[in-house]
Amino acid sequence: MRKNSVFTLLLGAFLSLPAFADEVVVYSARIEQLIKPMFDAYTKETGVQVKFITDKEGPLMERLKAEGANTPADMLITVDAGNLWHAANEGLLRPVASKTLEANVPAHLRDPQNHWFGLSVRARTIVFNTQKLKPSDLSTYEDLADPKWKGRLCMRTSKKVYNQSLVAMLIAEHGEAKAEQIVRGWVANLATDTFPDDTKMMEAIAAGQCDVGMGNTYYYGRLMEKKPALPLALFWPNQQGSGVHVNISGAGIAKHAKHEKEAIRLLEWLSSAKAQNMFADVNMEYPANPGVKADPAVAKWGDFKHNPINVAKAGELQAAAVKLMDRAGYK
């Protein structure tokens, strides 16, 4: 008898507790401060607890794989389409048939087989120094490969998935040979070594180390909020052609989800009008739901045409893009 109670005590300290009915377990590559406010609001509204753990995409997916059928995870959230595509490809996600999700998330921002859905849009566009350039000097991503930009271009490292997606889209549009030519052109135009992050790159553009670069809009938004006087502006490229390259932060339901219904309900809620602003605005991103307006601070950068290619292409062609950038000497 007494032995038993000691055993139970030890069990409690060293063993995981079983899953509860009214909860959803989320593995998230989107960081805590960008998801917790939504989950808190959801719990308040529905009473359903959301348990989550954050990590990088790669380890989270390996974790799902290793745990197999016993995984506690119901949902996977990432900050780019490439990794969601990869998770679906590895059989870690299950397709979801939901009229709500199909209505809330435009077709090019979700998996054609409905394994995952975009929840916010991240636009990678051109950033320029307003003291050195006029918007009329700029036109397309491809144009930045022109020799007239020699020594005037700044870029973030090719190791960041945002650039890998951008190049993947170039491959989708132009084919590998032409895309490689463009990337080689960019590399030839670099004013200095590539930067470890978008913010540093934008600061370099503002300081005059170069004139122009490509970055995600929310980095620009954050930087300008802190230093409004910087001579920086956004430019929407390829508006006559295919449109601005967009990626998503999105989610899918785990193949072995224990709370499938609850998880789908959470996903639907995240794509709904009332959650979309919270999800996007907390990081100055664009809502994925076209019926929802962007935060005023974001909306003032102006409207632009999205590239309508399905973001799944970014995943499909990511490995090819990485190899291409290696060949082109883009570090």
Binding site: E32, K56, E57, E62, F195, P196, D198, K331
Partner: protein, 556 residues
């Protein structure tokens, strides 16, 4: 039962006794720990079974040549940098007397409390084109002023040496302090000058300690990704990450990591063989204050300036910058949860440090009592986890434990009809062994170096005086090993505090630490906001450093 447990020295096999493989007490422990480490390594190595020829061909042609060269220069540079800084500072602190020595003796450890990638970010931020230093220079001297590039081979070597030298410093100081001035005096009595005495006698006598510290710094360098990525300086780890995150091939990444393990293992073996014939003893008592070399006024001033300079650059400047950033985000980010983060960090680091140091001690004893290649090999393998990039090892550990977990769940379901789900996942039963696998080297090297001083003759003398068994361990061994053990404890404690990938992957739900907090901020590029948890991490790191400082009277 076994005579080895009461009179181990007498029955210990001689070096090179390959054939006489007998498992007994100490050795079984060494094998047990080695197995624990080997399992995740095997998971990593198992990738070799699924060749990724296409990826290898690509990497070999376009990526690896440049990276290997980069890695070579980095390793060489950091080796030189950490040894020069660590040994010179250790010599000053342990053997010389100059104003401020007592303060510097422990303060020189402080850079260890700063994660290297945080220092890197601060320095790149300060010294790059857009940073305040260059901006200011441009304002005064015009736009075309020349400034050395910080994001360069030299820059990354400098920053890494400044953050990693404490490994060498801590171990070398321990060696110099116990070796005392006497060795130098003996050399001088044989006609050496003080300088040549240092290089010909003091330095070679401290070699296992210096080499141990340097190996730790180099293993950390080889496994590093955060620091080099701030500099965008591509090393071998970059290729590993590229294969995994860019080309979606964990197996190619693991194959590259396996290669890294093999290289490190070879280096460890060479290092071990090159000093296997040497014997090290202790010069009786620890150095007393009166035994110190009192520097002349000029030299003393120079020594103070040198220590201040290193401490300023390696610690005060980055911490000042972090404090400034923290101040700016304090109102926005600080909340009561920080107490929880702090508590989790301290508890995890504390338990992991104790566990790891205990295992390190057992391993060191096993190696002492069994001088056969099997035990030595097991010990070497047990300490390999330190050289692997964290995320790769984290996956190896996780895959192994998830397998066990799934196995348990399946059996409980089948035989006892209990639906348990995963039992071990997200508990200390996963986290602590994972930290042990990762950081055993950091605990082991200092203890092993100290163990070199426990010569066989000490045991023999002790027994001939009627002191044996536990009494001998307590009264003879412990005082000699104490410094090494403390050093190992502190190193592991600090390492676990700063560790990210294993913590991220194995922590229980909601169990965030300060390092996890840093990850949350930096992964979206918000370095300024990462300053707050970083400062908290440094503050928490002061606890073990003060602890060692207090006990420095014993091991000074």
């Amino acid at each position: 039962m076994n005579p080895a447990s009461t009179a181990p020295i007498a029955t210990a096999p001689l070096p090179g006794a390959f054939a006489r493989f007998r498992p007994d007490g100490w050795r079984l422990i060494a094998f047990g720990v080695a197995v624990l480490v080997v399992v995740p390594l095997l998971v990593v190595f198992s990738s070799l079974l699924s060749p990724e020829e296409e990826i290898w061909a690509h990497l070999a042609e376009h990526v690896l040549p440049g990276l290997l060269l980069n890695t070579f220069w980095l390793v060489l540079g950091v080796a030189a940098g950490t040894v020069v800084l660590g040994v010179s500072l250790a010599w000053l602190a342990a053997v010389c007397e100059f104003p401020g020595r007592r303060f510097f003796a422990w303060a020189m450890l402080l850079p260890m409390a700063l994660p290297a990638y945080v220092s890197a970010f601060v320095f790149v931020g300060l010294l790059d084109f857009t940073g305040p230093v260059q901006t200011w220079l441009r304002e005064i001297f015009g736009a075309n002023i020349w400034f050395p590039r910080i994001r360069s081979t030299g820059g990354v070597i400098a920053v890494m040496s400044l953050t990693l030298y404490p490994y060498v410093y801590l171990l070398a100081k321990n060696a110099f302090a116990t070796q005392g001035k006497r060795a130098l005096e003996a050399a001088q009595s044989l006609g050496h000058s003080r300088v040549s005495g240092f290089f010909r006698v003091a330095l070679p006598m401290a070699r296992p300690w210096i080499a141990g510290g340097m190996m730790l710094a180099l293993m950390e360098t080889l496994a590093d990704f955060g620091t080099v990525s701030v500099f965008n300086y591509d090393t071998f780890t970059t290729a590993i990450y590229k294969a995994w995150f860019g080309l979606f091939s964990l197996s190619a990444a693991s194959q590259l990591a396996s290669l890294l393990i093999v290289i490190v293992f070879a280096v460890l073996l060479v290092e071990q063989l090159s000093r296997s014939r040497m014997r090290y003893t202790q010069a009786g008592k620890h150095a007393q204050d009166k035994d110190r070399i009192v520097l002349t006024r000029g030299a003393a001033r120079l020594a103070s300036v040198y220590c201040t300079l290193v401490l300023g650059v390696a610690f005060l400047i980055p911490v000042a910058q972090l404090a400034l950033w923290s101040w700016q985000v304090f109102g926005q980010d600080f909340d009561s949860r920080y107490l929880e983060f702090l508590w989790h960090s301290l508890a995890l680091s504390g338990i992991a440090a104790l566990l790891t140091a205990a295992c390190a001690l057992l391993l060191a004893y096993a190696k002492r009592y069994h001088r056969d290649p099997w035990t030595a090999g097991a010990v070497r393998i047990a300490t390999l986890g330190y050289a692997l990039p964290g995320p790769v090892l984290a996956v190896g550990i996780f895959v192994a434990l998830a397998w066990l977990d799934n196995f348990l769940a399946a059996n409980l379901k089948e035989h006892l009809r209990i639906e348990t789900g995963l039992l071990l996942q997200g508990t200390l039963l996963v986290m602590l062994p994972a930290y042990l696998v990762r950081f055993l080297a950091a605990g082991y090297h200092p203890v092993d170096s100290a163990m070199q001083r426990l010569t066989r003759s000490i045991d023999e003398a002790s027994r001939s005086l009627g002191v044996g068994g536990m009494t001998m361990l307590r009264r003879v061994h412990l005082p000699v090993l104490r410094g090494g053990l403390l050093t190992g404890l502190v190193l592991v404690f600090m390492d676990v505090m700063k560790e990210m990938p294993i913590t991220l992957m194995t922590r229980p739900f909601g169990w965030d630490t300060l390092a996890v907090r840093i990850f949350e901020m930096t992964s979206e590029g918000e370095w300024e906001r990462a300053a707050l948890p970083a400062v908290a991490l440094v503050a928490a790191g002061l606890i073990p450093i003060f602890f060692v400082a207090r006990h420095a009277d014993i091991q000074r």
